[in-house]
């Protein structure tokens, strides 16, 4: 005779083993038999939440509307070194754009992407609107129309019987008085349904019921305010929560608020306060390093990433950032060691193999170069990645002097990603070498319009125009190049020459 397990216990077991779908199915069955079973109900909400749970600390998606209609920042023209929005103010002596490529927001590319670093912050409205057109870093119009809503509606669609909990019919004040149910319900509303307004109502009622003494509810209130864009209110809640109980997460949320309000120095102070309470806490150290990196202060960012590695020597972000920094400061062999460490740790993806390939090539370990790139090509997930890998293989081809291969690689890059400005620029250089002036000029113009943040296409265009005698176009292109990279000596010299020419006329 078969002994059946208690279904609730089985569901718990599934939940602990993260077999969430099975857990949710069993709970649904229990609920069909006895609709008022609170344990099963609570467990099912938790399972559904876990399915779509994302760490809220890491999530930060700024829409165009928030960025342009931003009223929370204090100074429109901030002093250098006090704002995250002035990418050009480098004090750290990091590599110039002549060595290290830039992202669209004018920051040097980093070794690691998180949801918030994905697209940076464009400076002007024009650039902001333009950005989504270059497919890979599409930005939502507002964060309210962003990824969360799309995910929320998708989860609704997949449930043909409708949502598990009908939020419009639920009596929030009843649930807010049951501490054991209210928390799971809140997380379900916040993470699964993405209904911040209802979540806020529930949190407000619950914190009232707890007589404003429960730090957890205050943090949740802060999270809701942050999502709604009410940063000052969020700040108040997080501060008050910290008075009740020192928690690392609360520090992280609070610094996120300050970063959104463009006060990086306040964030840094807060991180340091946090470190007094939690010495050597990795997330806080990482936070400091990220702020330094965003303020273009690469050397102190690296210091802090090294500090992170002293505490946790398997920290992928720290290793990747230090590695990429070494690569762009002309030490590819050291970068190679960092990336090899990642490989040992079990990171296995296209990006890592691509970086290994590049490091191997520039560290003159030619035996590994092509096999790494081959691996990278087999591991790509989408066309943009494929384009980037081919672009880098093109560089290897340039390096060994095989210009036919280089040409083909850059062409392939464009076949996979039609907006790859760097590839256009490099193709233009190759075309000019072949003597195709018109073709080269067309490529350069395309590159310049696709990526106004890069100085290379404009500089090249300026040289080309100067050579064919079109001094006016040369001058305008050189000026654009100067805007993108003011310290570039060759551009300065070219401009000086052109001014002399014009003065002579």
């Amino acid at each position: 005779m078969e002994v059946t397990m208690d279904p609730l216990f089985l569901a718990w077991s599934y939940f602990r083993r993260r077999k969430l779908q099975q857990c949710s199915d069993i709970c649904s069955k229990i609920l069909q038999d006895s609709p008022y079973d609170q344990a099963a109900w609570s467990l099912k909400t938790r399972a559904l939440t876990e399915m779509v749970y994302i760490d809220e600390v890491d999530v930060d998606e700024e829409g165009i509307a928030e960025m342009i209609l931003d009223e929370s920042s204090i100074a429109q023209v901030a002093r250098p070194g006090t704002s995250l929005r002035l990418p050009g103010t480098s004090q750290g002596g990091g590599p110039t754009p002549a060595v290290r490529p830039m992202t669209q927001s004018g920051r040097p590319i980093t070794g690691f992407v998180r949801p918030s670093t994905q697209s940076g912050r464009p400076g002007t409205m024009e650039q902001a609107i333009k950005t989504p057109r270059t497919a890979s870093t599409a930005r939502p119009v507002t964060s309210a129309s962003g990824r969360f809503i799309r995910l929320g509606t998708a989860s609704m669609l997949t449930n043909p019987e409708g949502p598990f909990i009908n939020l419009s019919r639920i009596n929030l004040s009843k649930y807010s008085q049951k501490p054991s149910l209210s928390r799971t319900l809140f997380e379900y509303i916040f993470h699964h349904e993405n209904d911040v307004k209802n979540a806020l109502d529930l949190a407000a009622l619950a914190t009232e019921h707890a007589q404003f003494k429960d730090w957890w509810w205050k943090v949740q209130l802060g999270k809701c305010y942050y999502r709604l864009g009410l940063y000052r209110e969020a700040e108040k809640q997080f501060r008050s929560a910290l008075n009740h109980q020192e928690v690392v997460d609360t520090y992280l949320y609070l610094t996120k608020v300050y970063q959104r309000m463009d006060q990086p120095l306040t964030s840094l102070n807060l991180f340091k306060q946090g470190l007094d309470h939690f010495p050597g806490e990795v997330t806080l150290l990482t936070g400091i390093a990220r702020i330094h990196e965003e303020m273009n202060n690469i050397s102190s960012a690296t210091e802090y990433y090294k500090e992170v590695l002293k505490q946790d020597n398997t920290h992928v972000e720290a290793i990747a950032c230090i590695g990429s920094n070494h690569f762009y400061t002309d030490q590819p062999e050291i970068a190679l060691r960092f990336y090899r460490r990642l490989l040992q740790m079990g990171v296995y993806n296209c990006q890592l193999y691509n970086n290994l390939g590049l490091c191997c090539f520039y560290a003159q370990q030619y035996d590994m170069t092509l096999s790494s790139f081959e691996r990278a090509l087999t591991l790509v997930a989408n066309d943009e990645e494929l384009a980037d890998v081919w672009y880098n293989i093109g560089h290897v081809a340039v390096g060994i002097g095989d210009l036919v291969l280089a040409y083909q690689c850059f062409k392939l890059t464009l076949a996979f990603n039609n907006d790859h400005a760097e590839a256009y620029n490099n193709l233009a250089v190759l075309e000019l070498r072949k003597g195709h002036i018109e073709q080269s000029k067309a490529f350069l113009q395309t590159a310049a319009s696709l990526a106004p943040h890069m100085y290379e296409p404009n500089y090249n265009l300026s040289i080309l125009c100067e050579k064919i005698g079109d001094l006016q176009s040369s001058y305008t292109a050189a000026q654009k190049s100067e805007d993108a990279f003011p310290e570039h000596a060759d551009t300065q010299q070219l401009l000086k020459q052109l001014r002399q020419h014009f003065a002579a006329l």
């Binding site: 779509v52 994302i54 760490d55 890491d58 999530v59 490529p101 590319i109 980093t110 070794g111 690691f112 992407v113 998180r114 949801p115 994905q118 990824r147 799309r150 995910l151 998708a154 989860s155 669609l157 997949t158 992928v316 972000e317 990747a320 990429s324 690569f327 762009y328 990642l342 990171v347 993806n349 990006q351 890592l352 691509n354 970086n355 590049l358 520039y362 990645e385 980037d388 890998v389 672009y391 880098n392 560089h395 340039v398 210009l403 400005a421 760097e422 620029n425 490099n426 233009a428 250089v429 000019l432 070498r433 290379e456 500089y459 090249n460 040289i463 050579k467 060759d490 010299q493 070219l494």
Partner: protein, 87 residues
């Protein structure tokens, strides 16, 4: 006189490696002008290290893909239903 060639890669391999003959002695002119000319060259964009993705980002992307798939399948099912209805 240093002769800089204006385009990248335009030096041919056989030009760069002249055969050294021991019979030729190096001559450094004591008179005359030595001048160099700096001709601007085109620049290539730099190789791009690809940033690694954080766990959160990977999860977000995976969830988004799955959601899109689910929506697509549901739409397909709807279409099939509509097609079957008249018959």
């Amino acid at each position: 006189m240093y002769n800089f060639i204006s385009l990248p890669f335009s030096t041919l391999p056989d030009e760069t490696m002249p055969e050294v003959k021991s019979t030729l002695r190096e001559v450094l002119p004591k008179q005359g002008q030595l001048y160099m000319e700096d001709v601007p060259t085109m620049v290539l964009c730099k190789p791009k290290l690809l940033p690694l993705k954080s766990v959160t980002l990977e999860k977000l992307e995976k969830m988004q893909m799955e959601a899109q798939e689910a929506v697509k399948q549901q739409e397909l099912a709807m279409k099939e239903q509509v097609q079957q209805m008249p018959s």
